[in-house]
Amino acid sequence: MMKDFATVWSERGLLLSGLGNTVLLSLLAALAGLALGALLSTLLMSPKRALAVPAKVFVDAARCTPFLLFAYIVYYGLPSLGLQFDAWSAGLLALTIYHSAYMAEILRAAWVTQPRAPIEAGLAFGYSGFGLFRRVVLPPLALSSAPVLGNQVIQIIKDSAFLTIITLPELTNAVNSIQSRHFIPFAAFVTAVLLYWALCLVVEAGVSAVGRLADARR
């Protein structure tokens, strides 16, 4: 058994590049997904039905779609419409668009429970449109929904493992090639599981740091 883990260690270059891809992919998808989700949440909250209804249809549809099927559609389905991506861009695109719907719903849910007074005050001070959203609406929203957004980031990390199916060389893909090369499935996949666990613990530590910040501001 220890010999198997030693073999995994001897392939640490491959393992690290897989881990690097998983981290980079999740980070980019989380940031882009949050930005897109914030934009979508303003559409969801819009009093104009022509903006709110399409946004709601998209968010609900994404929340009812399995991520693997969505990734398949982006990578294998869209080329027949003339949109061709390499595995990396397709994976990043699929992760970002899919999770922006979840981010939007999280922000919307937090938004409806926000007190109305600061927004009125912001309006009275002459803020409007995007300035109002960025300076008055978003900061308390981001702080109060931080734990749920953290869970969503963990979900992004876990969904990125699906992208091994579209040949993206992330962590699960790396350990799968290590196990097939050396026939050490247990050691290889357990290593991956422990690395995913470590990533999620880092995210949780980050969330509780934001939580302390939010308490300090209160």
Partner: protein, 215 residues
Amino acid sequence: MSLADVLTIFHGALTTLLLSVAGIALGLPLGLGLALLRWGKVPLLNPAVAGYVSLLRATPLVTLVLLLFFALPSAGISLGPVTAGLLALTLNTAAFNCEVWRAALLDLPKDQIEAAQSVGMGRALRFRRIVLPQIARTALPGLINEMSLLIKLTPVLAVVGVVDITRAAVRIGAQTYEPLPPFLVALAIYVPIVFALVSVQRWVERRMARREAAA
């Protein structure tokens, strides 16, 4: 894409549904059992369950399925793709259900139990008559949410070769060189199923909110 192809995808839908139902049916009581071990602060098992839940919540299902599918046979336990997939789904959903049940248990007022004790109810009767009916009600929205998450995770079975909706669609796409139509048929099956569950969850939440407002 022919009618026969559409029927193949619907046949896959049957597999998806059967495995989802089996995963839910196994995961619900298992999650409750794990939650009770934590609630009762059973020595050794309490931290073990906490570790299990933390680990499983962080493990991607694809990685778990591949681990079970490849590693168990090399440990002398032979299992097919369906068993490996169902085992992975159950282990995963039990961890999430455990947290939902545990939250409901922590939410249960202590005086309920003390009142049951004072009228002389034994441990098993107390659980069956007092604890379970109340936590089942509080846990219901969370449990339904977990069911829709489970259905959205079932395409992972396609990775190890179970012919579910997703695998059937991939196969037809590969045969006809037109992957988009079968994927859209697959989407048209998944979305209503998950949407129905999400709607039930919202309805239950609204009902509970109304009941709380009335009380």
